[in-house]
């Protein structure tokens, strides 16, 4: 069993990362999906996770969103433990209320968008701010309109998701997540369910977020070209571990590990 007293109650110092995974292990029964993962993401950094399916890369995002529990280790967000809380000078598993408070700092976009079908694009973006942050409707509407403008969806704001294309839905979903003013944004294969011709409209939105906003982002993707373009750092996952990581130039240009080379050449062939 993991001894929680080995982990600090909070992270302090000058260079506290926005996100820190500390010896995080995730198992499903006998299957170990993530094995003592250590991963830091600095504030404002864009980190991309690549790797073969089943390598645990989506699990990393889902654990950060607290959609999955963790078996061992601690995750910190902005220096505070995410999955645990300090109680009587010790870390204990977080209760629901604490989890809800902590995860409100994190926004997530899903592969299948998951917009609320009974609400318009605008209402989708107002739902969180009004219902969770307790914002006034007029203020939430103003912010939602700004964000829809940012993702280029202003003209469709009164449409329901069923009237929007996949690319448009995903852009609204990005605006919906941003409306909560998260410190960390997670993108889980956000272009995988899209038709090739609309992938660009979503990647352009993400690109503009990277260039113009100081958001910390963690992205799982199968689009190597896109990852290479916009990431500060790329992590190659294999078998529940980070096999290799580095800047896009290092990882794509000169991979050191054999598995990384194999994966990248297999992906290249598929393209």
């Amino acid at each position: 069993m993991d001894d929680l007293s080995n982990y600090p109650l909070e992270l302090t110092g000058d260079d506290v990362p926005m996100v820190r995974f500390m010896k995080v292990t995730k198992r499903y029964g006998d299957l170990t999906v993530l094995d003592k993962l250590d991963l830091d993401v600095a504030e404002g950094e864009m980190v991309t996770v690549i790797g073969p399916s089943g390598s645990g890369k989506t699990t990393v995002l889902r654990m950060l969103m607290t959609l999955e529990t963790i078996n061992e280790g601690v995750i910190y967000v902005d220096g505070q433990p995410l999955t645990h809380m300090a109680k009587g000078g010790k870390l204990v598993p977080a209760d629901r209320k604490y989890l809800r408070k902590m995860r409100s700092q994190i926004g997530m976009c899903f592969q299948h968008f998951n917009l609320f079908p009974h609400m318009t694009a605008l209402e989708n973006c107002m739902e969180g701010p009004v219902q969770v942050l307790g914002m006034k409707k007029a203020e939430a509407r103003e912010r939602a309109e700004e964000l829809l403008e940012l993702v280029g969806m202003s003209d469709k704001r009164d449409q329901h998701p069923s009237r929007l294309s996949g690319g448009q839905q995903q852009r609204v979903a990005i605006a919906r997540a941003l409306a909560m003013r998260p410190k960390v944004m997670l993108f889980d294969e956000v272009t995988s369910a899209l038709d090739p011709e609309v992938i660009g409209e979503v990647t352009n939105v993400i690109r503009s977020l990277v260039n113009e906003h100081n958001l910390t982002m963690l992205m799982v993707t199968h689009q190597m070209g896109f990852a290479k373009d916009i990431s500060d750092r790329v992590c190659f996952f294999f078998d529940g571990k980070i096999e290799e990581q580095g800047t896009p130039d290092e990882l794509f240009g000169n991979p050191q590990k054999e598995r990384t080379q194999q994966f990248l050449s297999a992906v290249k062939e598929a393209d």
């Binding site: 969103m65 299948h112 998951n114």
Partner: protein, 221 residues
């Protein structure tokens, strides 16, 4: 006596009976919806006691005869100090019985909402109650409307049983008229037609309309 004369003579009593039937139907429906929602949500609870209470309720009211339940509520409950007026006992019995069936529809409707919707609401940090009320139930509601249409027609027809505890509904009036005129074919024929009209031309079109409205809200229509 021609059928027209028969209607002239007894029409007002059929009308009165139909109004009572409509009242029983509306009140029993309201009760059934409230019970279905409560028991359906309870059945999804992870708390064993809450879950168990819903299962027991559904088993009892779905697994035994509505007529016996009606008699229990009207004749047996007074022995325990709970006396209900016959009109109340009537719609309470029908509502509680159909509510048990409705609970399964609510449960199924909620479970039919894709997992991604739960996750998206969770990712927005919504509380479980708000997630259920604002995100899951509105979508579950649309999914369960067609089976609810069937259930409400069933409920309407089941209200005829309240005649057996002397609630003066359509069936009760028909029995009375038959008793004094012995015109069985005309009497029960008329009752049949009125039940059919209520179901086919009021309940069904209303449910269709509701479905359309809800689908429009989802932007599907």
């Amino acid at each position: 006596m021609s059928y027209l004369d028969f209607l002239k003579e007894y029409g007002p009593r059929f009308w009165d009976g139909a109004l009572v039937t409509a009242g029983q139907f509306l009140l029993a429906t309201a009760l059934a919806i409230a019970i279905a929602l409560t028991a359906g949500l309870m059945k999804l609870s992870r708390n064993r006691i809450v879950h168990g209470a819903a299962v027991v309720y559904i088993e009892i009211f779905r697994g035994t005869s509505l007529l016996v339940q009606l008699y229990w509520i009207f004749f047996v409950l007074p022995l325990f100090g709970i006396t209900l007026e016959k009109f109340t006992a009537g719609f309470v019995a029908v509502g509680m019985n159909l509510g048990a069936y409705g609970a399964e529809l609510v449960r199924g409707g909620i479970q039919s909402v894709p997992k991604g919707q739960w996750e998206a609401a969770y990712a927005l940090s919504m509380s479980p109650a708000k997630r259920m009320w604002r995100i899951i139930l509105p979508q579950a509601f649309v999914n369960m409307l067609p089976p609810w249409g069937n259930l409400l027609i069933e409920l309407l027809k089941n209200t005829a049983l309240v005649a057996l505890i002397s609630v003066s509904d359509l069936m009760f009036e028909a029995k009375q008229i038959n008793g004094s005129t012995f015109l069985s074919a005309q009497t029960f024929g008329t009752a049949l037609i009125i039940y059919y009209i209520l179901a086919r031309f009021i309940v069904t079109p209303f449910m269709r309309w509701l479905e359309l409205v809800m689908r429009r809200k989802l932007g599907r229509a």
